[in-house]
Amino acid sequence: MQQLVQKKAAFVPPRLQITAMMDMFTIIVFFLLFSFSDNPDEIKLDNAISLPQSTAQLDYDDTIKLFLSKTELKLNEKTIAVLKGDKIVDFDSKNPKDSQLYKYLQQYKQAREIEIKHHDENGDDGKAVPDLHILFFCDRDLPFLTINNIVKTAAIAGFPNFQFLVLET
């Protein structure tokens, strides 16, 4: 009996060793604190687009988004053209007004004109309607020939100003 009691008293539950876990959590917390952002980017980046790196420091505006990858052209997440071998399928560079890009951009332009008209009629707090420009996402390996067709078409449609999106170095 005495031996049984001694055996029961001698049993010590094992202690969980959490020192290593604490070390790991501390490092993770400090790393995440450094990469904390009060305004995280809300743009869904296409995996097919590798953006170039740049020393630019300007923040981008939330405006019309144009995505140009090696396989397709998207306007605000809607695919409007397909690329094959750096060339846009069904795109005539001599007649850019026949392209889908031009037609969609014209719709945006008309919507903006209506917005300006309403703004002028209502006189909203003296705030001006912001100028529309295009936020351009382009894969870094695409040649200028492909890009030039796109930007030229956009300029003809009434959008000559762009913001080229880049990764900060």
Binding site: M22, L33, S54, R140, P143, Q163, L167
Partner: protein, 171 residues
């Protein structure tokens, strides 16, 4: 002696820190920080494409040198970068002074630092100049175009030409 022995035993006692509240805090903090962290920093370069001007050009004759604005034209060719300058206020001889042809180096890289240095000299003489027209070759990659824009806009921390216009080759 017994007292001394007791003191030694109490000094040897381990003090256990309760880690459970700390772990609880970390388990709440880490998901919150993960959700609000940003690993990719996106920035923008303002640029434009040339449009037909509807306003008449300003007569820049008889303007003092610091007020003269030059427009730098950077042509990215396959093997070199060609820098030329256009202005209505200067003679052709003076404009040719700034012309340069910068060849690729032995590793096939464009001499963007040399381009920045040349633009800086231009900016130092004519500080009002703020526009660069970039004309890449059809086969020039977008990555090279962006780097050329960076070289035209800044040299280190010094701002150079803030307006970059992207244009195709005419003719």
């Amino acid at each position: 002696m017994i007292l001394g022995g007791n003191r030694r035993r109490s000094a040897d006692l381990d003090v256990d820190i309760d880690m459970v509240p700390v772990m609880n805090m970390f388990l709440v903090l880490i998901p919150f920080l993960l959700i609000s962290s940003s690993f990719l920093h996106l920035k923008a370069i303002n640029t434009s494409v040339p449009v037909i001007a509807s306003t008449a050009s300003v007569n820049q004759k008889e303007i003092k040198k610091p007020e003269i604005k030059l427009t730098a034209v950077v042509e990215i060719e396959l093997q070199s970068i060609k820098l030329t300058v256009i202005s209505e206020a200067l003679s052709e001889d003076k404009l040719k002074f700034f012309e340069k042809k910068l060849m690729k180096d032995s590793q096939g890289k464009y001499p963007l630092l040399d381009l920045s240095a040349a633009l800086q000299r231009l900016k130092a003489d004519y500080p009002k100049s703020d526009t660069v027209i970039l004309i890449p070759n059809q086969k020039t990659k977008y990555n090279t175009i962006v780097h050329a824009m960076d070289a035209a806009r800044n040299l280190g921390n010094k701002p150079l030409f803030k307006h970059v216009v992207l244009s195709g080759k005419v003719g």
